[in-house]
């Protein structure tokens, strides 16, 4: 059974969703505002099997983040179907769901609850999460005193230790010092060995090459290529170089 399956998924956004005000709605009723929808994803299909790590590459605006949001269940496709089997831990933005005035420990518990853990499970995992994050005695300080690297370490530790079936990671591993990066890479490798899957979005072909066995290249919302990580990255990088020259 695939853990993630996208079937002919399309997602569009109306062009002018910026301001949700009464006068915008009235203008729309009278037909004064009319825009073609903007396609973030167009007819995207792929599957991720157990133990597989899929890297997603593409330039800005290619639809990578929209794809992760759909996989996380944050929004629904306008066409097609998204199926996800198992608990998802999204790491989409540094410290989303963290509050600067709460201590690290309080944020840790809140984050675990947001990921769907029960109180007992959270208490059980508390020590190992703190241990993994390496934050030590600072865990009882307010989060606003943390560096961005510390926030990322805490967020990553909660996500990986709470035993999800699927991890969604957006560019986040770039933060944190070298030793923590080593540790998190090791954790991700054993995570995948345990038969779980990961979607990994990155601009950096190097990180994708290191983490993933398969890659998907998105361009303007469409799948350009899906397959072995080397072949896809070569095509993607080749295209980027060509664009650069012209």
């Amino acid at each position: 059974m695939p853990l993630i399956e996208f079937q002919n998924v399309s997602k569009w956004f109306p062009h002018s969703t910026g301001r949700q005000l009464l006068r915008t709605h009235i203008a729309r009723w009278f037909g004064r505002v009319h825009h073609e929808p903007f396609y973030a994803l167009r007819d995207v299909s792929f599957r991720v099997e157990e133990g597989e790590t899929l890297g997603i590459v593409g330039s800005n605006g290619a639809g990578k983040s929209t794809l992760l949001s759909l996989a996380a269940g944050l929004t629904r496709p306008d066409h097609g179907a998204v199926r996800v089997n198992g608990r998802v831990a999204p790491l989409l933005e540094l410290g989303a769901g963290f509050h600067p005035d709460l201590t690290g420990a309080e944020n840790l518990v809140l984050n675990a609850a947001l990921l769907g853990l029960s109180k007992r499970k959270t208490n059980e995992l508390f020590d190992s999460i703190v241990e993994f994050s390496g934050i030590g005695e600072f865990i009882d300080d307010p989060l606003r005193t943390y560096s961005s690297g510390m926030v990322m370490r805490l967020a990553f530790s909660v996500a990986i230790q709470c035993e999800p079936a699927i991890l969604l990671i957006d560019e986040i591993l770039a933060v944190g010092d070298a030793s923590f990066q080593e540790k998190s890479k090791a954790a991700l490798v054993s995570f995948c060995r345990a038969g779980k899957s990961m979607l990994f979005v990155s601009h950096s072909p190097g990180a994708v090459r290191e983490m993933c066995d398969r890659a998907l290249w998105l361009d303007h919302g469409s799948v350009m290529m899906d397959g072995d990580v080397e072949a896809v990255l070569e095509a993607y990088e080749g295209r980027a170089v060509m664009k650069h020259r012209t």
Binding site: Q20, L21, S69, L114
Partner: protein, 253 residues
């Protein structure tokens, strides 16, 4: 699909609200007590010294009106903006969206508890003893909280689509202050306008509070049934409106 521990999540969201609010206040919980006390003092001064009112129970009657009204308006307004304030969570974590307005109402319930404790304390100081009808209080308040949750689910989801909603709610609350018998009693309302008060859930709440705490008798069955039916229906409407609108939150926040 998110399949976690709802109670644990809601408890954490409520605790977050409470901690964040009181860590930034030097007087902490005292602020919750001060606001209704000041209002009570001002209204009592105006209505006993300026506009002569001879009723000894006047301050009690005012407080019985202010505590439910305060809860109702504050919970309604903060609940209405609760989805906007949690934008970063809604766009990044796949939790069921209903938890945000519900947690917002529940965190206001903590302030309500503090204010109810103040109200009951003052009732005792004024020499009104505890009576058996106090057992109605949790029922009455439970219904009111259900009603506010329904209201909040409805208005918070509409507020995502039309940001002006918040100001409509604030204006409605200003009007409500005069339409809830806070500084006047039900007895003075002309019969032809009583219908207006019969359908006002906050007015019903004030009436029942005065029945129990000042007059010392059980609330009227018909009022109670009307409030119960209204609350259940409002909660149902809230859930339905929310379910209908929630798919559009992501692209509009």
């Amino acid at each position: 699909m998110w399949n976690g521990d709802y109670l644990f999540l809601i408890r954490n969201l409520v605790e977050k609200d409470f901690k964040v609010r009181y860590r930034n206040m030097s007087l902490g919980v005292l602020w919750s007590l001060l606001n209704p006390l000041i209002m009570m003092a001002v209204l009592t001064f105006i209505f006993t010294k300026i506009l002569a009112q001879r009723d000894r129970n006047f301050p009690l009657a005012v407080l019985c009106g202010l505590v439910p009204f305060n809860f109702f308006t504050v919970a309604w307004v903060t609940g209405t903006t609760s989805l906007l304030e949690n934008t970063s969570l809604i766009k990044r974590v796949p939790v069921p969206r209903q938890v945000f307005p519900i947690a917002s109402v529940l965190s206001n319930c903590l302030h309500l508890l503090i204010q109810i404790a103040l109200l009951l304390g003052i009732i005792l100081v004024f020499g009104r003893g505890i009576n058996i009808h106090w057992l109605w209080l949790p029922v009455i308040w439970g219904l009111e909280i259900l009603f506010v949750m329904g209201l909040t689910l409805t208005f918070s989801s509409i507020n995502v689509y039309v940001r002006d909603t918040r100001y409509v709610v604030e204006s409605a609350n200003t009007v409500l202050f005069w339409l809830v018998p806070i500084f006047y009693s039900f007895a003075v309302i002309p019969v032809r306008f009583r219908g207006l008060y019969q359908i006002n859930p906050v007015a019903a709440l004030v009436l029942m509070m005065r029945n129990v705490l000042i007059e010392g008798h059980a609330p009227l069955g018909s009022t109670l049934i009307r409030l119960a039916a209204g609350s259940v229906i409002m909660f149902g409407i809230g859930l339905a409106v929310f379910a209908k609108l929630k798919d559009g939150f992501y692209s509009r926040l």
